[in-house]
């Protein structure tokens, strides 16, 4: 914020700013827009034990990691919980590992989260009536493309 305030108080700079550096202006604009709606500072409790340490069984850890990479962090919304440093992401990783260690299947944990946060929380789109176009459209476009190409090649031969 102090940085922005200095920018505003220097009007000669602002003139050249407006003319030349639209890129920077856009970036600052984006930074302001992307300020989170909910301010979540950090607690000073240490992360949960399983947030940052692996399960002893490598097979279970592999399952947990594969799931964590496809679950969206609720706080820093562009990242998976595997990538995020947010405390809530740490707690979500600990939850995933605890449940996998207890024998729960990754897809069961995913549907538990989807029931609470909606499909948004999963990076793995399911195949159903609503997402079918996503899966069918590329195939359909390929068929249409092949048909168009065939027409063009035929005409050239004649």
């Amino acid at each position: 914020m102090p940085f922005l305030r200095t920018q505003q108080s220097h009007s000669p700079q602002r003139a050249s700013f407006a003319r030349g550096n639209w890129g920077i202006a856009a970036m600052i604009g984006l930074m302001i827009l992307s300020a989170p709606a909910l301010v979540r500072a950090d607690s000073d409790l240490p992360p949960a034990p399983l947030a940052n340490s692996q399960l002893p069984d490598p097979k279970q850890e592999a399952k947990a990691e594969a799931l964590m990479e496809t679950i969206r962090c609720l706080v820093c919304q562009g990242q998976s919980i595997a990538d995020s440093d947010a405390e809530l992401a740490g707690d979500m990783r600990a939850m995933v590992r605890t449940r996998i260690a207890a024998g729960e299947s990754p897809e069961h944990i995913r549907s538990w989260l989807v029931a609470r946060y909606g499909r948004w929380v999963s990076y793995k789109p399911p195949v159903d009536a609503m997402t079918a176009p996503l899966w069918i459209a590329p195939l359909l476009l390929l068929v249409v493309g092949a048909w168009l190409a065939r027409g063009l090649f035929k005409r050239r031969r004649n």
């Binding site: 984006l30 827009l33 992307s34 300020a35 989170p36 709606a37 909910l38 301010v39 979540r40 500072a41 950090d42 607690s43 000073d44 409790l45 949960a48 609720l74 706080v75 919304q77 562009g78 405390e87 809530l88 707690d91 979500m92 600990a94 939850m95 989260l113 989807v114 029931a115 609470r116 946060y117 909606g118 948004w120 929380v121 027409g151």
Partner: protein, 175 residues
């Protein structure tokens, strides 16, 4: 083939470009609503948030009267901002129970000594597990729970003075 059809791929490309640009330029950080509205409160039994007091359990919300469940933390700045509004609600007879996220009894006690204590009971959720089970994604959040323990409403963010009428309205609806 019609000549106008040749423009179709370009039109489709521009359409995609517009979709991607609006996606890129719209602010991120959308608010995530819980999908648990209309569903029963998950089963939990939390230890007490304060020393020498009772913990918080699902059964506390199944006693026939609608209540507020406030998800807060002593380290959360907007939680301090909503404290006067919670005090006002408590003083008008609303029962408020709380879940303290990743918190310590002494920090909670300090927070309440500073901003007032509107809570009947406080459960301590040190691993955010109840928060996740509720479909809550931050602090503070406030849920209206009806007398049968069904989640009726979620308020995301701090309760501001102008939000108080809607909280009362939702409590009346849950009756």
């Amino acid at each position: 083939m019609k000549r106008s059809l040749l423009w179709a791929p370009l039109a489709v490309f521009i359409l995609f470009l517009i979709i991607f640009m609006t996606g890129l330029l719209s602010p991120e950080g959308q608010i995530i609503r819980s999908h648990m509205i209309g569903k029963p409160l998950p089963n939990f039994a939390l230890p007490a948030g304060l020393r020498n007091s009772a913990g918080l359990r699902t059964q506390d919300f199944q006693q026939g009267k609608p209540k507020l469940l406030n998800v807060f933390a002593s380290w959360c700045v907007p939680c301090a901002a909503e404290a006067p509004q919670l005090m006002q609600l408590a003083q008008s007879g609303v029962t408020i129970d709380a879940v303290a996220i990743r918190d310590r009894p002494e920090d909670i006690a300090n927070f309440l000594a500073r901003y007032g204590n509107p809570y009947r009971k406080i459960g301590s959720d040190r691993t955010s597990s109840i928060q996740l089970a509720l479909g809550s994604s931050g602090v503070p959040e406030t849920f209206v729970i009806d007398g049968n323990g069904i989640i009726r409403y979620q308020h995301i963010g701090d309760i501001r003075p102008e939000n108080i009428p809607e909280i009362f309205a939702e409590l009346a609806k849950a009756r």
